[in-house]
Symmetry: C2
Subunit: 468 residues, 2 copies
């Protein structure tokens, strides 16, 4: 049955576009979520796609989606596969791998725009832009392994969002293919009042509405100067207050992060004579970076430390990706069956301190350590990024701990008035709390989904929609 369906796909697309190689299928079966990594560590069989399709352009993507509609086959779009919230799942589905969408246009220096294929990775884009003297400024921790299409589909947010904004601020327009093969392309304009923003529906859509194939992005000349500053506080509440003062000032930091005492331990690992206690890290860019950095130090209060800690952060900022993998392969410091996970939430400044204490306390009852930093700031609130770890006797205990963390963490977050995801997204992992998060808007989302994907073939199960 499956084989017959796949034959019709090959007939439609050509054998060169469709991979049935078992290792290729396996490489597209799981993401970077804890559940997936536990499955890998335990050597459990996964539920791989029945085929991996690699179209070369939007017309070919439309062709795949037409075929999927005709054969009622579920489709999961695939960029870097680095979701940590079970963005991939189900069975009997195909994966549409966008790695052939790897082009980067010349920078339009007049309007500071670049148009890129959805499969372009962070490093590819950075290299291409650097040659023209530009940067995007979108630097999620997954930067080196994730793609532009994935950033859009998950509503990603980079570590430098204080300076450059989340991905929604950087997208000037996009092309996407919807079920049935309908292709939308937003006009590139600085701003429009031409009805509801249909292209923006793809931001955060996690593959449930269609496949992002191309994105036009706003870029910035690479700043020549960066100034760092590091401050120490006695209490996390003072570091949070400093974040708020900075976010509500006109000082335009590029980076602001506030670590609680426990997270400072993780941050400063490998440093000789590391500082203790809550730390505030800041970076400023541009000609007047040093003036603004000094003004920020005055505004924030706290004790000035050696600023090189910030440079240490810049050079190690994505190292957690490697550590995470090492842990999940059983080679981590916490032992072969350890569980480590991260949980990012957000809230207004009005609820943030309660959100911090409530989640930290309740999660702390079920983990060896719970650390937290403020990772993204806004005039009206911030993101809290928790890291949790526990030594477990076996992988089953690790899985149980993980499930408990999510149930406790999401419930505590909602009770404290927080929002359940700042930038990792929902996937399947957080789907059960999405109706609480969205209220009646969840029913509207279901209606929009049913209108655009009446068969429910796009990434069924993600966002808790139309599981098959």
């Amino acid at each position: 049955m499956t084989a017959a369906i796949v034959e019709t796909l090959i007939a439609r697309m050509g054998a060169g576009r469709v991979s049935l190689d078992p290792s290729d299928l396996e490489a597209h079966a799981l993401d970077w979520s804890s559940r997936a990594l536990l499955a890998r560590r335990a050597g459990e069989p996964s539920s791989p796609p029945i085929a991996v399709v690699r179209p070369h352009d939007a017309t070919e993507v439309a062709c795949v989606l037409e075929w999927a509609g005709e054969t009622d086959t579920p489709v999961i779009p695939f960029g870097g596969g680095s979701s940590v919230v079970e963005g991939i799942g189900g069975s009997g589905h195909i994966v549409v791998d966008l790695s052939n969408f790897d082009y980067v246009s010349d920078v339009d220096t007049r309007s500071r725009l670049v148009t890129v294929g959805a499969g372009v990775t962070g490093p590819q884009l950075r290299t291409a832009l650097e040659s023209s003297g530009y940067l995007l400024g979108h630097e999620p921790q997954s930067h080196d392994i994730s793609t532009v299409g994935g950033w859009v589909a998950t509503r990603a947010c980079g570590q430098l969002s204080a300076g450059y904004g989340g991905i929604e601020a950087l997208v000037a327009g996009l092309e996407a293919v919807l079920p049935g093969g309908r292709t939308i392309r937003t006009k590139i304009a600085p701003r429009r009042s031409v009805g509801p923003d249909i292209g923006a529906l793809m931001l955060g859509s996690e593959g449930v509405l269609g496949i992002v194939t191309e994105v036009t992005l706003r870029v910035t000349p690479i700043p020549e100067i960066r100034m760092d500053a590091c401050l120490r506080f006695d209490h996390m509440r003072d570091a949070i207050a400093a974040c708020r003062a900075l976010a509500q000032s006109r000082l335009s930091p590029t980076l602001v992060r506030a670590y609680d005492a426990e997270d400072t331990v993780l941050l400063t690992m490998g440093l000789e004579d590391p500082p203790t206690g809550p730390l505030l890290l800041m970076s400023f860019e541009g000609d007047d970076a040093s003036v603004r950095a000094e003004a920020a130090v005055s505004l924030a209060g706290g004790e000035r430390l050696d600023d090189s800690i910030v440079a240490h952060w810049w050079s190690h900022r994505n190292a957690a990706v490697g550590e995470y993998t090492k842990n999940m392969s059983g080679a981590g410091l916490l032992g072969p069956h350890a569980m480590i996970d991260t949980m990012e939430v957000a809230g207004t400044w009005t609820v943030l301190r309660d959100l911090y204490h409530s989640m930290k306390e309740r999660l702390g009852e079920h983990a060896d350590f719970v650390t937290c930093h403020v990772s993204h700031i806004y005039p009206d609130g911030a993101c809290l990024y928790f890291t949790l770890g526990k030594s477990c006797t076996d992988d089953e205990a690790a899985a149980t701990s993980n499930e408990k963390w999510w149930a406790i963490g999401m419930t505590a977050c909602l009770e404290a008035g927080g929002t359940i995801s700042h930038h990792h997204g929902i996937g399947r992992l957080r789907a059960r709390w999405l109706p609480d998060e969205l209220g009646e808007s969840f029913e509207v989302l279901r209606a929009v989904k049913a209108a655009l994907d009446p068969q429910g073939i796009m990434n069924p199960g993600a966002l808790g929609l139309a599981p098959r």
Copy 2:
């Protein structure tokens, strides 16, 4: 038939909520579009609503929409009625007037948020915020006669958008009632990655998807210092280049406007010894406003003029509303049958100069004057705001001229790669060009509309959707 329907509405809502007073119905029959004002000038009979309903809360709005669904009655939400693009129209409909949604919460000074009813007008909000030392920073020319709900529904943009952003940047969350009485309420959070942004569908929805009832807005402390600067250029292209340099700098102006030579004449009316030629007006706010203003003058080039012209703009900035009315009542300078209209479009910097010349030249063939200013700037482009005027022999000739302007202007805009509306919206006036503007996204918009309003009762005809 109509009377019987209205009786059921009164029975449902209570007589105190439903007005059948002819002058009240007439006052809700037309907006501020040229077509409407011509109709008023000619004393033509309008097509008023069959009733004006004034609900007091979201539950009552839901009740109205349930009734409308049961009786298949079209519904037009009404704020200030100041649309200039035929936001109101049709026949056999009711109007939902939101003037009872007139509350303003205390400012949450910690998160800098305020929650207000959709019927709150610009002056009401300004007064309420001023008492706490805050402002919104959203100042469209219609500020004094329009409402918060209208700003959201039309995706409005104020004159100070360089400093404060368009309405989309100021909305932290909203409540809206959809057909059938379903009420959505977005969680207030600085940022979320929790699926597509359903609440954002209401931005620019122009009443076709539901009724915005409440909005939570981001506010800013009133800056103590404002510095103005005025520069003169020999050519509009140099003034446009200066706008681009400012938009792509880190100087954060609050206001940037560049007038071509003809628009300078309108701008400086009433001034003794007015300057001639293209002018650039800038304002900066905050403690370092003067430093940034001086840096902007250096960056922009041009000849420095007396900065008081900018103060003149600030004090007369909404006077056009009165002039417009005067003209349309037949008492304007251009004679009793004159036609005056405005047309705002946008484009990237890459297309902007062509867009300016093409529209100016082609519109100029059919008008006594066509003036233009750059009214809103962004790193990737700007808004061009045209004002057109013509003396006409009679009102029929005035109507014909107006129709010609829109056909020529919108076509020229689309051909030059511009976007057909920056902030006035689509209404019925621009509906015929919306499919060209949106491409296949227009079909997606139709599908979303059909999903949320299957009977097509919400403002039928606006955005070119489901005319009845």
